[in-house]
Symmetry: C2
Subunit: 318 residues, 2 copies
């Protein structure tokens, strides 16, 4: 039988499951997949994942050697526990051990931002490059650093929080409690919060309802509203200074940008990259490459497959 790894992406709303030949050499654009609404009951969730893996492995006439799983954070990687997932109201759920018991192979878990970063860096837009920084800009900014093919964890597992690079001492409040983080300026949630502060609900801009989402801000900016322009401008600058600081500290071969805002707002990201090139040392300006995530919705799955692959090679499978 062919050795396979299982890959699972437990999302806030839906869960994706697939399998990949092991060792993993590439990530094809399409791949048989099972998807279902993430059950609130974690026992049911594990059972659905187990059935999906059985089905997919059977179809491939292969046998699982390990399973990787991107999950909501915060979590305890070592013990495979999701400490808290607000969407499912999960608390201290040992998803790794439960799933491992169900599928009878070792299971590795990591949070979805880091798992997606690993997938994009190694099998997606960062394939072949080193170091790679991945930013997923959606309601917040998730990220991960990949050096020599492995995620940088830091001394306490807290590395890779690129969204919390501070670019303005007096900037807007961030969800992390501080001020002037990139996330507070340039994430979907950050822009929406700034918009709600700038335009009380009652007002209108050019005859339309006042902006209350990042999309609204970008639209109003395009229509020429000066306040929206200022917010969009500051968002691009914050992202640019973040890119510049990453270039100074890490000299990444490529910075990969994904996430709903990152992918939908091409000109925004392109502008930030152009601004950043004027804010780095001359040698770095030519070297600073910012590109779009390539795996779309599959980056967490690809990273989960890699987690499984690393686990399998550590455990001496293959």
């Amino acid at each position: 039988v062919r050795p396979l790894v299982g890959a699972v992406d437990i999302g806030a709303t839906k869960t994706l499951v697939t399998v990949s030949p092991y060792p993993i050499e590439s990530w094809p654009a399409s791949r048989p997949m099972v998807r279902f609404a993430t059950p609130r009951d974690p026992v049911a969730c594990v059972e659905r994942i187990g059935r999906a893996l059985d089905l997919l492995a059977g179809r491939e006439m292969g046998a699982l050697v390990a399973v990787g799983c991107g999950t909501p954070g915060p979590l305890d990687r070592e013990r495979g526990i999701v400490i808290h997932s607000p969407n499912q109201a999960w608390r201290d759920i040992p998803i790794g051990p439960w799933l491992s018991e169900r599928v009878r192979v070792p299971v590795a878990i990591d949070d979805d931002a880091r798992t997606g970063a690993l997938g994009e860096a190694v099998l997606g837009a960062g394939a072949g490059a080193d170091p790679v920084v991945y930013l997923t800009i959606s309601s917040g900014i998730g990220s991960g650093l990949v050096l020599g093919g492995a995620l940088v964890a830091g001394a306490h597992g807290l590395a890779g929080e690129v969204g919390h690079l501070v670019v303005d001492r007096r900037g807007p409040r961030c969800t992390c409690g501080n001020r002037g983080c990139i996330e507070a300026f340039a994430s979907g949630g950050g822009l929406a919060r700034r918009a709600r502060r700038a335009w009380p609900r009652a007002t209108t801009v050019d005859g339309r309802a006042a902006p209350h989402s990042a999309a609204d801000v970008f639209r109003a900016a395009r229509l020429g509203d000066p306040e929206a322009r200022r917010l969009a401008d500051e968002a691009a600058w914050a992202l640019a200074l973040g890119f510049a600081s990453l270039a100074a500290v890490l000299d990444p071969e490529v910075i990969v940008v994904g996430g709903s805002v990152g992918l939908a707002r091409r000109s925004f990201v392109r502008r930030a990259a152009a601004l950043a090139r004027h804010r780095v040392m001359r040698e770095s300006a030519g070297a600073l490459r910012v590109t779009r995530a390539a795996l779309g919705g599959a980056s967490v799955l690809a990273g989960a497959a890699l987690l499984a692959g690393y686990l399998a090679s550590e455990e001496g499978v293959a």
Copy 2:
């Protein structure tokens, strides 16, 4: 005979040479050393280094297996060439190959900031910690990142420029051509440039000549001058935001601060560390450790010994 590595620190004004048992296990507080004024003639410099190494190795009744050398940058590490050293007016000097020919063992070179970072991180204040960020704050800010015992080079050898983290989009001009880098706010040279702009030469502050050095700014700030206070305050904040950004991206186990300004201005560095703890995520606040360099003037020598040790183990000596 005992295997030894040679360690050389070619400084702008003086050159230090020592030897260490190989493999290198620690860096004793004192060690036999030869020091001389760095000759402007690179051939003479290599000859003096060679003689010093012969003398020291003979005294230890050992034999060199490799030599490491911290040199002024910019340089071509691979080929062992100092591309430009303004103090000695050296241009394209193949110091590595020349020294290797003289001492008949392989020679590794790296720039002094990176070499000092490696020494402090592995054998000095960062010993046992991982990752380690080292900042040397003197006229500029040099730095290095050490991950898993090795310097992070980045994709183009440009990683570790912590002094060029951007903390204020509209901040003062930096020597690198950009604005708002930490170095522009918090280095000796940056503070001196800000002081000269704030106080035209003719003016006096409290009956004294106007500040024109970093030390003057700190003194005037202590005496209560509001403008000097503002500059010292902004310097501490810039350094703090740099620490906070490093914590967010790399989660270092320890940030080691050395250099003439870094070591002389204890309360300045301590204040920056305290401010930084309010500007990181809650989990990181307790984890953020900033400490003083421990090797004093020997950090480049210790790093050079490590460079030699890595080279020896790569080449299969020992």
